[in-house]
């Protein structure tokens, strides 16, 4: 249970990170919070030849900031910063609602928001929230930088669509719009465990749409939309329609049938909360 040997690099600037990745490609892993990477190293599930420690990059933000119609996170903003951010509570209430389900306080003190998204764990909360909101990841490398929408970012379990010489330097979460309501629900055996099933819900009153993105159901979080939502009474059928496209996996903790049942129950609960939340938001 000790990390295997590797060459350790401690760059000072984002450009130095680019240079290291263009030199070592898939032999290098970025260390930010390390709350997923270090367990993987300890258990020897991966043995990268190079670790690029970005914790000492100069002049990086500790907190999220407003960027146009979004709230932006730099690569070293810890999960804990979400909990105490008034900006996030006001502008991205779905992220604020989901954060308490992410692991434990001690893990949130070190883990980063960008790292949690880039890790692309299909059972994690933040990728599902990003998918539901239609946010984007800013990736960069020696070839330049680009913005990758959530719908294209998650490529498979623990796999993102960035090239091997690219890394995530930020994540943008769209700010709440008028008439938008949100809800988040999940079920786990113990506090902080991976959820058996979870769901992020967004209701937009102007377009009468419901969007759900599930975690723990399938290989990647996918935003599922349905239109024509007129009242609270439509929600149960709308969720049943959306959840029927999910592939529920079975394991020692839950059968596929139980997970599908959870998907319906949690989806309905989250969608109802989002619907009532949207009624409280005055249309501007």
């Amino acid at each position: 249970m000790k990390p295997p040997p590797f060459t350790y690099h401690r760059p000072d600037t984002r450009a130095e990170v680019d240079a290291l990745l263009s030199m070592y490609g898939s032999d290098a892993k970025i260390l930010a919070g390390g709350q997923s990477l270090v367990p993987i190293l300890n258990m020897r599930l991966a043995s990268p030849a190079h670790i690029v420690d970005i914790n000492h990059l100069i002049d990086e933000d500790d907190d999220p900031f407003e960027s146009g119609d979004a709230v932006a996170f730099g690569p070293l903003v810890r999960l804990e910063a979400v909990e105490r951010s008034e900006l996030v509570a006001e502008k991205v209430p779905l992220l604020a609602a989901a954060i308490e389900y992410v692991a434990h306080p001690a893990i949130r003190n070190r883990g980063t928001v960008v790292g949690s998204v880039a890790h692309a764990d299909p059972a994690a909360e933040l990728p599902a929230v990003l998918a539901a909101l239609g946010g984007a990841v800013q990736s960069r490398g020696s070839g330049g930088s680009r913005s990758i929408p959530a719908s294209e970012f998650f490529a498979g379990p623990l796999e993102n669509s960035m090239g091997e010489d690219e890394w995530a330097e930020g994540v943008q979460w769209p700010a709440r719009r008028a008439g938008e309501g949100v809800g988040f629900e999940e079920f786990a055996r113990r506090s902080g465990d991976y959820a058996l099933c979870g769901v992020a819900a967004v209701v937009r009153r102007s377009s009468r749409t419901l969007t759900l993105a599930y975690l723990g159901m399938g290989d990647v979080p996918v935003a599922l939309d349905v239109d024509g939502l007129d009242s609270d009474a439509d929600i149960e059928d709308a969720v049943a329609g959306l959840a029927s496209s999910l592939e529920a996996g079975g394991d020692i903790h839950a059968t596929p049938r139980y997970r599908s049942w959870l998907a319906q129950q949690l989806g309905t609960k989250a969608a109802r909360a989002a619907f009532s939340d949207s009624m409280g938001e005055d249309e501007l």
Partner: protein
């Protein structure tokens, strides 16, 4: 840009419980092992070594963190607090430790250093916290002896011990 090759040792400065240490470490060494084997502070316990049990929790710049999920090199320059920083050997226990003793917050004691360091930043507010809030705050720590009721009580009432010792204290803050 710092670079450390496999097997190579590098100089590292850490402050632990207010004492400055200049040590030599390999890049792959975990903070938990560096505290125990290099600096000799074995109060930080190691259970699962993958971030689940919480025994190895220490304060890094004031915030509870898993020392088994941190490379020591990664936190160069940080201020660390371990359970040894709470009270000197043979001296009076820290109020939080005394409260654990008084309210049966431990039995075998293996998990206790992690619980103490997790509760340390918030125990003075704990009298006003609900059971759910306290349990959520310690949800990252596993104890297989007590069933947690004694631990929750010990954390909630630690500030009382402080007030008893120094009546001038205004009590729980």
């Amino acid at each position: 840009m710092k670079e450390v090759r496999p097997g190579e040792r590098t100089n590292l400065s850490l402050r632990v419980n207010g004492v400055h240490h200049e040590i030599e470490v390999e890049a792959r060494w975990l903070l938990s092992d560096v505290l125990r084997h290099v600096i000799g502070l074995t109060g930080t316990h190691v259970g699962c070594e993958h971030g689940v049990c919480g025994c190895c929790t220490v304060l890094v710049n004031g915030r509870p963190s898993r020392s088994c999920l941190l490379l020591a090199v990664q936190i160069e320059g940080a201020e660390i607090q371990t359970v040894e920083g709470l009270a000197e050997p043979g001296e009076e226990l820290h109020p939080l430790q005394e409260s654990f003793r008084r309210h049966h917050g431990l039995q075998c004691g293996y998990c206790t250093p992690g619980f103490l360091m997790t509760a340390y930043p918030f125990y003075r507010r704990a009298a006003d916290m609900s059971d759910d809030e306290i349990r959520s705050a310690i949800s990252g720590q596993l104890c297989r002896c007590t069933g947690y009721a004694g631990i929750v009580e010990a954390i909630r009432r630690a500030a009382e011990v402080e007030a008893e010792r120094d009546p001038a204290t205004e009590g729980p803050r």
